[in-house]
């Protein structure tokens, strides 16, 4: 339960900062290899969640490439909290970036160039001009990112090692209870998660109705 919140609280801001940086570089500048970069950003969506967990086990696990070094230094990543956080970051990787990139490309660079010519520095331009332009799409991306971060099961299941109380998030807890034939408790936890999903859907719908123009750039 606590771990669900921790994982989301780390994964969402990380992917938020990444989304802003990536969309700034991609939408405001022209450079070679841009399409490859965009495809790579989309990649985590087409990878099975099980593979998302597997790659971290293969890299950081006891038999993994960095395993010997990590155990020498007493660092535990897989079957512990850092692994769950990493897997969560992976599966929610593209959410913010893919909302922002099409919108910022559509908006172009004129506003920012005007701000620069009026003497604003880089950060001022970003916070006073760019951010207000993209705030609703940003919120939308964060919302979707958060929903997936709290609900992810497959990737987290692989890296968790099912250590009860230590490495179980709410979706994993549902599975444990269900496999213990404790259906009532499993569905009780599940209904909390389903309620969160409904809240997400409602906020999402409100954002789409109120600010559809800004958000729909991603769907054009």
């Amino acid at each position: 339960m606590k771990l669900t919140v921790i994982a989301a609280a780390i994964a969402v801001p990380c992917n938020l900062v990444f989304g802003l940086a990536a969309s700034w570089a991609i939408a405001k500048f022209e450079f070679v290899g841009k399409n490859v970069l965009i495809t790579l950003i989309d990649l985590p969506f087409s990878v099975s969640p099980v593979i998302a967990g597997l790659i971290y086990v293969l890299l950081f696990g006891a038999q993994g490439l960095l395993g010997p070094w990590l155990s020498q230094h007493n660092i535990q990543i897989v079957f512990a909290v850092p692994g769950i956080v990493l897997a969560t970051i992976f599966v929610t990787f593209p959410f913010v970036a893919r909302e922002l990139i099409p919108l910022m490309q559509e908006q172009g660079t004129e506003d920012e160039e005007a701000a620069r010519s009026l003497g604003a520095n880089g950060w001022q331009t970003f916070f006073r001009v760019t951010l207000p332009n993209i705030r609703w799409a940003l919120l939308y991306g964060v919302l979707l990112c958060n929903a997936r971060a709290m609900g992810e099961f497959g990737a987290v299941s692989v890296v968790s090692g099912h250590i009860r109380g230590l490495t179980n998030t709410m979706p994993l807890h549902v599975e444990i209870l269900y496999n213990e034939y404790n259906f009532v408790a499993a569905f009780a936890v599940a209904s909390v998660l389903a309620f969160l999903a409904l809240v997400t859907l409602i906020i999402k719908s409100i954002l789409e109705w109120r600010h559809g123009g800004e958000i729909s750039a991603a769907r054009a």
Binding site: C14, F18, I26, A27, E30, F31, V32, K34, N35, I38, T39, L40, S46, S48, P49, V50, I51, L54, I55, Y56, V57, L58, L59, G61, Q63, G64, L86, I89, P94, I101, P102, R116, S117, G122, T125, F126, L144, A147, R148, G151, G154, S157, V158, P171, V174, E175, A190, L193, A194, A197, L198, L201, I202, K204, S205, W209, S216, A217, A218, R219
Partner: protein
Amino acid sequence: MNSLPLVSEVSRAAVAIPAARFSLVKRSVLPGFGISLGFTLFYLGVIVLIPLAAMGVKASGLSWEEFVKATLSNRALAAYRLSFGAALLAAAINAVFGLITAWVLVRYDFPFKRVVDAMVDLPFALPTAVAGIALAAIYAPNGWIGQLAAPLGWKIAFTPWGVGVALTFIGLPFVVRTVQPVLQDLSRDVEEAAASLGATRWQTFRRVIMPAIAPSLMTGYALAFARGLGEYGSVIFIAGNLPMISEIAPLLIIGKLEQYDYAGAAAIGMVMLAIAFLILLGINLLQRWARVRGGEG
């Protein structure tokens, strides 16, 4: 949620602007290119590319015979067959009903239309484990629907059919959300022209509307199929997970990991990754085709 049109589509237009001078980067008055691109590449490398490469390294530790043995065993082949079959079936069901749903949402008015529209995204928002236990409860022999099917001698949960049901749920939003915007933008002039030339409604649909939405329909189909191949959480509760019968491909990886056969897990992971790449490539080609089509219309 809206994993619909790939971001790459929109950007390609921007990239097509010819560079004024020969340089890897076009000069701009805006600051922050170096730091934002640098951070993007660093983060992408650490989170995605290096770990994926680690899987390749681990798999390459196997000899060719070992690789074949891990990825083409009878049990693995049965799992691929099930995953492909169920994902194809589920995507096909979603193509038919997703098209109808998109059509109804765009063209008709009925009570609670907005609620219905919002409901389409539920499979994206609902954690897969929650969906999994709910579907298992509904389709189990004593569940609401399982009860109806059981007297007919038809078992759904804990058989390959259960896998199809779960993948239908998971892929449901893809077709609706790719077809819907295209249908929305479709000009009705062409339909009027067809009608005034004496075409029946069905002829107009088949000859005028269908060709216009075909690329998006196929994109939605491919997205739903790709998602179905990799899906894990919603399937394992309803599938029964019997080797050779109702074991899906992602579960093979879990099985290998539980036996501490990391290289074998990596090998199957590489196969699934390669398939995902091919589908992604296909979707990109489909969208290019859609753009060419759109340019003509």
